[in-house]
Symmetry: C2
Subunit: 444 residues, 2 copies
C-alpha cells in the first residue's frame, strides 16, 4: 500500500470542484432526469446557453460579483508569461444572466411568454465551504414576457419548484414565500429613505443574528431605534394562514399599497397551500428578502428543516429589470432554481439518500469462453428491443469473476449459457437459478 500513496497524492483533488463516486453519480443522474422530465411536464422547453459571457454582460448587473468570476485566458499566453492576457470572456456565475442575455439576443426568434428550463453548471471563484462550491449544477425554470409575465406566474413558478421537489426523495423542507413590495411598502410606511439598503441588511438576518442586524440598521442604513425594531418585528412574522396580514397591521403599519401587496402575497400563499406536498412545509416568512437586487415582487426560498444554517436548496422570485438592463427592451418574469449539487452532496454526506448500485444495468449477459457469442448477442438485442437495460460482459472471462463484478456493481440478475447450452437466469440477491426466456422476462 505504501508504494501507492505518492501516486494517489500526485493527482490532487481540486477544492470547490466536487465529483461524485459512480454510485452517487447514478443517483445524481436519476435526479437530473426526474427534474428535467417534471419541468417538461409543465411545458417548459429545454435551453442550454454557452458557458461563457462577455465580461461586460456579466458585470452589467452591477452586483459586486467580480471577485467570484472566472475569466478565460489562453494557456499558451499564460505559459509564455504574456503581460496582456486576452480575457474578453468569463464563465457564467448563474443561469439567469445568460438567460436574460439570450432572450435579449434572440428576442426575434422567441415566442412570448417564453418558458424555459436550464440545467447547467455555474462557476464561482469564491472560497469553498460546505454547501458552497466553485462549480455546481443549477436547475432553473423561468417565464418571461413583454413587458412582463402575468401575475399567474407568481403562483405557478414556485408551484413548479414545489412539485419538482416533491417528486424527489428529500428530507423535510421549509419553503418560505414573501414579497419584496410588502417590505418596501412597510419601510415606506416607516418613512425609511433607502428601502433597498434595508432589504440588503435584513437579508443577512439569519446569519448575522438580531443584535448585529439591529446595529447595522442603525449604523449603516441610519434608521432610528424605533424604525429598526419595527423592521425586526416584521421579520419575525411567519404564518401558514392569513393571520400574517393582521400581524403586520398590529405593527401599526397601514397604507393602500401595503394592503394590496399583503393581499397578493396571501393569494400566492393560498394557491401554494391548496396542495399538499409530501415533506414540504409552505409558509409566509416576512424575513425572506433574497440578496440579489433584481427581485421586484414575490420571492421564495427552501431550506432543509433539520439543517439550520445550511444555504437555501432552492430559491427564486419575480424580476422586472433584469433583461431590460441588458437589451433596452422591457422584459420581465418569474424564475425559480433548484441547487442540485448543493442538495444532493448534503444528502449523500448525511446518508439521507440511498446510494446502492453503481450501474443502470438491469441484467448482465455473461460472455463465457465456451458460450455461443452470436446467440447471446441476439438475446441482448431482443431484450433491448423490449426496453430492458442489458450489459454485455465480455471480460473478465471467468464465471466467478463476472459474478463478483455484478455483485459489486449492484446488478441483480445475470444470464449465462450453461454446459448444456441452455440459458440460465441467476438472481444474485435470491441466489437461485432458473431457465431464461428473453421474450418474456421482466425484472421484478
Amino acid at each position: 500500500m505504501r508504494s501507492r500513496m505518492p501516486r494517489k497524492r500526485r493527482i490532487a483533488k481540486v477544492s470547490g470542484f466536487p465529483e461524485c463516486s459512480p454510485d452517487e453519480m447514478l443517483v445524481f443522474g436519476q435526479w437530473l432526469r426526474k427534474i428535467t422530465e417534471t419541468f417538461e411536464e409543465f411545458g417548459f422547453a429545454p435551453m442550454i446557453t454557452r458557458s461563457v459571457e462577455e465580461i461586460g454582460t456579466i458585470t452589467s448587473k452591477g452586483a459586486d460579483v467580480d471577485k467570484e468570476i472566472y475569466a478565460l485566458v489562453r494557456l499558451e499566453d499564460v505559459l509564455a508569461g504574456s503581460s496582456k492576457l486576452d480575457s474578453r470572456l468569463a464563465l457564467h456565475f448563474d443561469l439567469t444572466v445568460p438567460f436574460a442575455r439570450y432572450v435579449a439576443e434572440h428576442a426575434g426568434r422567441i415566442v412570448f411568454p417564453f418558458k424555459r428550463y436550464q440545467v447547467q453548471p455555474v462557476w464561482r471563484g469564491e472560497r469553498a465551504q460546505e454547501g458552497r462550491y466553485r462549480e455546481f449544477y443549477q436547475c432553473d425554470v423561468d417565464v418571461v414576457d413583454i413587458p412582463s409575465a402575468s401575475g399567474f406566474y407568481d403562483r405557478h413558478t414556485p408551484e413548479v419548484i414545489l412539485e419538482t421537489l416533491s417528486r424527489l426523495d428529500i428530507p423535510p423542507v421549509v419553503f418560505s414565500i414573501n414579497d419584496r413590495r410588502v417590505l418596501e411598502a412597510f419601510y415606506e410606511n416607516l418613512e425609511i429613505d433607502d428601502p433597498v439598503g434595508v432589504i440588503r441588511v435584513m437579508d443577512k438576518l439569519s446569519k448575522a443574528g438580531v443584535q448585529a442586524t439591529r446595529d447595522a440598521l442603525i449604523r449603516v442604513t441610519k434608521l432610528s431605534e424605533r424604525q429598526a425594531d419595527h423592521c425586526l418585528r416584521l421579520a419575525r412574522i411567519r404564518s401558514r394562514d392569513s393571520e400574517f396580514v393582521g400581524a403586520v397591521r398590529d405593527l401599526g403599519a397601514t397604507s393602500e399599497r401595503l394592503d394590496a401587496c399583503l393581499h397578493e402575497l396571501d393569494e400566492v400563499r393560498q394557491y401554494l397551500l391548496a396542495r399538499e406536498y409530501a415533506n414540504i412545509r409552505v409558509e409566509v416568512d416576512l424575513s425572506i428578502a433574497r440578496g440579489l437586487d433584481y427581485y421586484t415582487g414575490v420571492v421564495f426560498e427552501g431550506h432543509l428543516q433539520d439543517y439550520a444554517g445550511f444555504p437555501a436548496i432552492c430559491s427564486g422570485g419575480r424580476y422586472e429589470n433584469l433583461v431590460q438592463s441588458l437589451s433596452g427592451r422591457s422584459i420581465g418574469g418569474v424564475g425559480g432554481s433548484i441547487g442540485l449539487t448543493r442538495l444532493l452532496l448534503k444528502l449523500f454526506k448525511e446518508g439521507l439518500v440511498e446510494v446502492g448500485a453503481s450501474s443502470p444495468t438491469e441484467l448482465a449477459l455473461l460472455y463465457l469462453p465456451e458460450s455461443d457469442a452470436a446467440w447471446l448477442r441476439s438475446v441482448a438485442g431482443i431484450l433491448r428491443d423490449r426496453g430492458i437495460r442489458v450489459e454485455e460482459c465480455g471480460g473478465p472471462e471467468r464465471y466467478d469473476k463476472l459474478i463478483k463484478y455484478c455483485r459489486r456493481k449492484g446488478i441483480k440478475y445475470c444470464v449465462y449459457q450453461n454446459a448444456e447450452g441452455d440459458l440460465k437466469l441467476r438472481d444474485l440477491s435470491a441466489g437461485h437459478e432458473r431457465a431464461f426466456d428473453a421474450r418474456t422476462w421482466r425484472a421484478c
Copy 2:
C-alpha cells in the same frame, strides 16, 4: 426598427460558442436524451467530471494542445491588472483526459471493468470554423480495466456507437475501422524506423492530399520513395469484406504480427457487419490513423457520406497508456465519442433534421379570466398524473392571443372552459373542437 439596431449590436454573438434557437434546442434535448438512454441500455453508467483540470494533468498527454486550452484566472485580478495571474486550472478540451484522471484518482472506489458514459461540453481555444467550435458537447462511452479491457470491447464499444447513431435520424454515414497495429506492423515490415511519426503524417492524408503527403513522408519522416508509395498504397485499401487482408499481402508485406493484426481487425469487421444499421455503411479503411498519440489498437471514425471534408461526427479506439501516464497504474480500455454539437448544427444548417415545435407541451390549458381556475388546476394534475405534458397558460389572458401563442409554439391541442362552463378541446391543426375528458384523453 432602426432604433433597435444599436441594442441588437450591443449584445454580440461570441464566435465559436454556438447557441440553438428554442425549436432547435428542443431537438438537441431529444437527441441528448435518446443518446444517454441508449448508453444506459448497454449498461454504461452516467459520469460527470469537473469542467476544470490542473494544467499539469491536461498537458501531461504531451500532445501539442497547449494553444487550444483555456486557463482560468479570477476576474478581479484581471481588472486589477495583476501581473501574476493564478491559473493552476484550465477547462478540459476533451472528456478522455478528465475520465482518465478521475479513474486514477478514484480507482479505489471503482469496480473494474469500469463502463461509463459522459456527456458534457468541452472547450478549445482554436479558431472557429464550420464543424469546429470553441465550446461543444461530446457524448463519450469508455470501458477501462486493469491492466486493460478485454478484446471483446474492441468490437462492443464501436457497436454501442453504431447502435446509438442508428437510433438518431441521421443522413448516410460511412463508419470506418482500422487498427493502429496493422499500420505499425506494415511499417515495420517496410523497415520504417519511426512508425508513429509516419502515422501522424498519414493521418492528414484526407486533408493534405496524396502528393503533399508523399512529400511529407519523404522529407519529414525520411522514407524512401518506395516506402512512401507502399504507405500510400496501403492507405488506399477499403473493403466491407475480408478481401482487405489479401490486398495487404498483395503489397508484398508479410509477418506473423501483421497477419495476427489483420485477422483481429477482420474479426471486428465481421462483428460490426453482422448487423444492419440503417443509413450507416461500415467498412475497413486502412487510411484511418486518428491523430491522437494515445491510440494503440482498433480505431474508428464516422463521416457524413455527402459532406466530404466535414470533420468526423464520431470516433474512438483502444488506448493502453493514457490512464497509466496519469496514475502510474496500468489501466487501459476502448472508448468512443459522438460529436453532438458538430453533428446537429450541421444537420440544422443543411435542413436535414425536422425542426418544428419550440415546446415539449402536448396540451395547453388556457386560464381565461372567467374560467374556474381551481378546476383547471385539478385537470392539469389529473393529466400530469397520466404522464401528459401540460402547459398552464395564465397569461396573456385573451383567448385569441393564447391560441396564437399555441400555434406559434407548435402546440397541437388546447383546452379551455367555454361560456357554459364546459371543458372544450381544440385541435389546432384539424381546427375542430369537442368535449374534453381529462381521465381518458390521449394525443393522437
